[in-house]
Amino acid sequence: MGDATPILEARGLSKRFGAIPASRAVTLDLRAGEIHALIGPNGAGKSTLIKLIAGDLTPDEGSVYLGGLDVTALGTAARAREGLGRTFQISSLIPEASVLQNATLGALGRLGQPYRFFSRALRDRALRRTAEAALATVGLEELHQTRSAELSHGQRRQLEIGVALTLAPKVFLMDEPMAGLSAEGARQLTGILSDLRRTAPILLVEHDMDVVFALADRISVLVAGEIIATGPPDAIRADPAVRSAYLGEATP
């Protein structure tokens, strides 16, 4: 289950859009070695919470800690440099670039080397090693030269995770990685994620309840911007508040 010191921590995050509260004093943490799943019905505020943690939005109140450091004031790019590896709900890759180039981009960000004008990106040993290792982990080593726009949906998901891996992140932040995958694809990705938690803990937003209950070490349930329960899968499954507020109407 991992040790008790949280690597990622959200403390009392609140955000309103006009009069509508999208997050209400959300507190949650992510500990080494675990997969912490965040579930909730549509419109519960999962996307807002992800954006608050990733740095796309600044909270009205509360703070975000990453590895013990307060990153609330940092932007998206700076949080990524601090070790926040993110995948997007809708695959977000560089369409015209090859698989290897996409992974190399991550390595560039991690090594802080985007301002090199004359060396060749794909011939740099350190970059290449990082990129290739990450692609091997997600099973894309055969597809280095393929344009990412030409990948299948599942392969794009894998590449998303591969790019996040190149950052050698302290934590992963994954927004519905299973969305749109075939059963076979989902099974494959579940295996990858299950291993990945040993590299860095994962905050997982996911709709597929089979995946969530199969993978998660802990689950938090978000309803109307509020966390109504946090705990191991069994406890969540048994929680009457969750059952009434959420599971009853969920379509897995």
């Binding site: 700076a78 090859s98 560039l108 960000g109 060396s119 990106a121 344009r147």
Partner: protein, 329 residues
Amino acid sequence: MSLNRETTASLIVMAALLSTVLWAEATGEPFTITLATRAAIFALAGIGLNLALGMGGMVSLGHAVFFGIGGYAMGILASHAQTFTPLTTWPILIEGTNAMPVIWLVAVISSALAALAIGALTLRTSGVYFIMITLAFGQMFYYFMTGWPAYGGEDGLSIYVRNGFPGLNTLDPIQFFAICFAFLACALWLYIRVDASPFGLTLSAARQNEARLRAVGIDPFRIRLVAFTLSGAVTGLAGALFADLNRFVSPAMFSWQTSGEIVIFVILGGVGRPIGPVVGAGLYVLLEHTLGDVSDYWQIVLGAILLAIVLFARGGLTGLVLGRPLPHG
């Protein structure tokens, strides 16, 4: 080094330009050399813009600013040298100069600084807003230079003798062409190298997907700003050469038509293709020169040709010949 398609095409086009000039020299057609020089300089300006536009997706309709600044760097320095008056005596004495290397350096530095400042102000916008705000900066410089009497206003500045380069007779068309061609070749090499470099990869990522770039810890704004600055510097150098080709500078270099023409070189040839601006500028100069024979209303023909290229040759001429670009590497 193995040659990919783009590099091969670049070498072929450059060789064609060079042999045209050598043939013109052999047959005593100095004016053809002048035209080729003009095309080479426009191509250099286009490569500058292509760094921002092709690689970085920044559609600047204000690159005339940098072209003009490069031109006026030459005009101002050379006019002071011509009249033996210093530019300024305070806080330090700055004299004019006729030496091309100094002029180039000043042109590159001052246009890079202008690009840095303009980029810092404008790169927060995108899409049409960016197109229009760069246009607005172009208009500001245009009207400023038109109304500023110190350096000739709208009349511009005439420099009677082309500036000098150690060891060359710059008034000889082919020797001046050699200088411009050398710069063009360097810029082309620079473009191809940057395209394959970490910076090029990052910049093209900034064009295609900002969110992705941020997610890997890179700030797209700074990447774009650096690219825009580099782009302005290359276009500024072209401006200085253009001023020396004509031995004259005027605010027309700052006009929105000039910005538009530089964009046209790039689109005609192929956006984001290394050799694109060279092909585009070459074709444009050729059309401009030969269509006049057709009729007084030759611009109708030019318009029709441009239109046909946009509508039927997607990706410009380079796209027509080479097809879509491959993912490099």
